[in-house]
Amino acid sequence: MAGLGLTMKKRLIFLLVTFSVLIAALVVRVGWIQIVQGDFYQKKAFSQQTRGRDISPKRGTIFDRNGKPLAVSASVEKITINPQEVRESKLDQETIADNLGEILGMNPEGILKKIKKKSMYEIIKRKIDDEVGNNIRKWAKEHDVGGIYIDEDSKRYYPNRNLAAHILGFTGDDNQGLDGIEAVMDKYLKGVPGKILSETDARGRGLPLNEEKHIGVQDGANIVLTIDETIQYFAQRALEKAVTDNMVLNGATAIVTDPRNGDILAMVSKPDFDPNDPFGCPTDTDKAEWEGMSSEEKKAMFSVVWRNKAVVDTYEPGSTFKAITAAAGLEEGIVTPQTRVNDFPVIVQGNTIKCWRGYRPHGEESFAEGVYNSCNPVFVRLAQVMGVSKFYKYMKAFGFYDRTGIELPGEAQSQIHAQPKEIDMAVAAFGQRFQISPIQLISSYGAIANGGTLMKPRVIKEITDSDGNIIERFEPQPVRNVISKQTSDTLCEILEGVVSVDTATGGNAYVPGYRVAGKTGTSETTETKSKGRYIASFSAFAPADNPVICVLVVLDYPDPSSPFGHGGGKIAAPVVRDIIENSLEYLGVERRYTEKDKEELEDQVTVPDVRGKSTAEARQILSATGVNLKYSIEGEGYDNNTIVVEQSPKPGISLTKKSVVILYTYKPQQGIKVKMPDIKNKTIDEAVETLSKVGLNVKGKGIGVVVEQQFEPGTELEKGTVVEVELRFLDTE
């Protein structure tokens, strides 16, 4: 037996050292991975473990201020596949693609391509109905095809279609917000997507008997807007009518705010689109015409219809801006409503500026009358007294240099002379040669209406979670005090005169019982000379002594051939009137009639029910109403005791004096027909007289002359029919 030699012992030690070095290397490497790089791998591991199929979170709802849903997410389904798993099915790939294509209404070739892919996750189709999803489930089960997953998906749905489309915006294929509030508040609305985890082996195949885990999905928060769905609807309806009636070519916008806090109650922009299908045919476009468009034309169309003109467009405000010049003049104490001024032409740096009624100037008048009559020279002279620096100081104070910061995308930057000369100021005094956005103008009117504080326009009221708890509240934000309460009050009174004084320019905005204050505007554009493009606008608030709403309507480029012309007082003021009347009524603001209103109201009478009475009794009842309600009796051989079988109009309808009630002593199969006369451009009295002659009645809306009658001249109407007519002042600016 031989002992171990020295060499052998040495070499055993060498072997031990070798193992020691290797083991040490292992420990160092493990330590490197786990301690030094641990964080990195921890993150990597996390992203790996959450790599599963996505579940879309439910996108938050957008509500109006009263909790009515404007944008909601409906639960639908989506089909995804794990191509590796699908390929292992018994059914061949072509058949799978064909069958899927058939059920989903898709091209099988595209599906086949996805099945052949090397990835572990392919989306086949999103936003399919539950029914289709169930069909896929059934089919996959029948044919034992694996690797097809039908998961929850969510689809955006706008129940009111194009209502408030520009405020809401729309979402894309992945439910990401692309425009409007959907885009601005996307991070709140979208929520946190979750994953469906299922265990997979090294090749990403689902292992049998695995439970699926749904993790991490967090629904989006809800957004409550300051928009009032009803007022939005009033504004949209009124604006749509105005666009059609006046053949407005370049679109239009209407904004309704609460001047007390800057809340946007409504914001309409035309033309518009249906956010349910933002890439489809726009609301006001003809389907057939749309089909015929090239993709470039369609793209151009989108950029028009998606445009929120109230915020992203600028325009020259025209005479509506005179309210700002007036505010500055009153605040500076340069004028009072009673200050005597005149509107004779004024020459500034060699340019002569005349009143719009230059052919017959208003001459000497009070400053208030200057505003009523919208005389340019009055404002030019006022600005001249004020001086350039003070004038532009007020422009700055009213916020015309800054974006308002409204939470809507793409707010325009105004364009105002950087170094204004006197002539720049002179034309700016009546609102020309500078560009501001409609939202800026209505904000400045808010400051005039609320006692002098410029408010930041607010469109988002609060953010709530899915249980309705408030996460974040957006408080009204005053920007700065611009004018004193006294100036505000004085100016409100003057602007009320613009609407209520008979000869003033804003008469078409008059609403009996509601004190409307406002200012007309007819802006020239660079295309005025070449194409006759004017921008007609009217900015107003009501009630003048305690304003609760402020409305701006801007109609861009009424067709020069339109019979109503392009004047803001003619075509924009009636829109404002409709919006104010409907909104104040809806808001429950009580009407306070002036003496003049009452007089007009007394002319109205409600038709009593005389059916079943004898003609004598009927006669008595009709006379007893105390007004000059006329009547005529139709029938043969009647006497005082003959019973009135039918009457036209029906009882309960309110009619102006001099209206005619037709009494029938027989049951008319059909009423007696008369022909509708032409009453265009007649005053209400003339219209009533003309119509009563043929036995028709009138219900008027507005004041001035008849611009629209419910039935075309020559239409056959039943005797006694009430004809609705719209009246407007046509001789105003």
């Binding site: 002992g3 292992l26 490497r29 991975i33």
Partner: protein, 378 residues
């Protein structure tokens, strides 16, 4: 035939190597717990752990029985097992199964027992037999014994290489060279062998490795290239180990382990489970236990009563050591993937039993080793 000189007057209880035995048992116990965690997500996880426990029990009994046997008897009986294992190797060359699961047909099915890899047992018999010749060479009986040594080595090594089992082939070749080295082969020959290995490597690459194996080595150098097989496995195991950080995700709570993103986590990549769930502290403890085991074995080899015992222990230590280092190394991406399991930890009955047989032989040598004067006077 040969006669052996027995070591006499040994008290088994007194001389038993408790240090080595307890070290191995500790490692096995940790292994069993980790295996339980690794197979939690398997449908048949419980039965896997049960089988492993059974193999462990069999292994312990066999180790104890073998330790009772004087290792010098292996000089004679070893040759019998050697012949049997060579026959089995030849058998699986033609009738083997398991290529689909393990990459080579080096397995055979035994009723009741299950699948079994003859090369596992051949490793032991190979070491037992060539130690005999090395001892004789060392004692000056060169010539004929050198030839025998080479022939007896070449047969199992050749058969294993022919099986296309890359990992196992590496074990045999590594053990062969370590034993030559300990025997005192001059360094210049070692260097020569190393240089000669280069063309052999190229030859092996071209003619002997199948695609799967070639990929494993190729992607070892560039794991990002391959997302589905070898490279993919390494990236995932490194990520899982790394995410364990210092303290680990706690037993049974390793997300990647439990969610099945760790490949073959119950055997080849069980160290990944240790890394993810027990963290750096757990991994370091396991590696230190392994180091202590190897240290103890080398100590036994150094203090063996005779050359034969020393060669035996050296060979078996080299075998286990290679497995340990290579397996952990491939888990952390510093060695190519070879499919070698982690001894005493990875799932696999035949490997467990083989390793315990090796421990039994080492125990036998240890019990009969030379004691220091101080100890022997007790």
């Amino acid at each position: 035939m040969y006669s052996v000189e027995k070591t006499k007057g040994i008290s088994f209880i007194k001389s038993f190597d408790y240090i080595l035995f307890i070290t191995v048992l500790t490692l096995s116990a940790i292994g069993l717990v980790v295996l339980y965690s690794a197979t939690l997500s398997f449908e048949n996880g419980d039965s896997m752990v049960l089988k492993q426990g059974l193999a462990l029990a069999i292994g312990i009994v066999m180790a104890l029985v073998i330790s009772l046997v004087d290792y010098k008897d292996f000089k004679i009986i070893g040759i019998v097992f050697y012949v049997i294992s060579v026959v089995l190797l030849v058998y699986v060359k033609f009738r083997g199964v398991g290529a689909e699961t393990w990459g080579s047909n080096s397995w055979m099915q035994i009723p009741v027992f299950g699948s079994f890899q003859p090369s596992e047992i051949a490793k032991i018999t190979f070491i037992v037999v060539i130690s005999t010749f090395l001892e004789r060479i060392k004692e000056g009986q060169g010539g004929k014994n050198i030839a025998k040594f080479l022939i007896y080595s070449a047969i199992p090594i050749g058969l294993v290489i022919l099986q296309n089992d890359f990992g196992m082939s590496m074990v045999f070749i590594f053990v062969f060279f370590v034993m030559l080295f300990i025997c005192g082969l001059p360094y210049k020959y070692m260097l020569g062998a190393f240089i000669a290995a280069i063309p052999c490597g190229v030859f092996t690459w071209i003619f002997l490795l199948n695609d799967k194996r070639r990929d494993r080595i190729r992607f070892f150098f560039n794991p990002e290239d391959d997302q589905s097989n070898a490279g993919f496995q390494v990236l995932r195991s490194i990520r899982a180990i790394g995410s364990g950080q210092i303290f680990g995700k706690k037993l049974f709570q390793g997300i990647q382990t439990q969610r099945g993103t760790v490949p073959v986590k119950e055997s080849d990549f069980i160290f990944t489970v240790i890394g993810e769930e027990l963290g750096f502290i757990g991994s370091a403890i396991v590696v230190i236990i392994i180091f202590f085991l190897l240290l103890r074995c080398v100590y036994i080899a150094k203090n063996s009563r005779d050359l034969y015992g020393s060669f035996l222990v050296t060979g078996l230590t080299a075998m286990m050591g290679f497995n340990f280092v290579e397996n952990i190394g491939m888990n952390i991406g510093i060695f190519p993937i070879t499919g070698l399991p982690l001894p005493f930890v990875s799932q696999g009955g035949s490997a467990m039993i083989t390793n315990y047989i090796a421990i039994g032989i080492i125990l036998s040598v240890s019990i009969r080793r030379k004691r220091s004067i101080f100890n022997s006077s007790q």
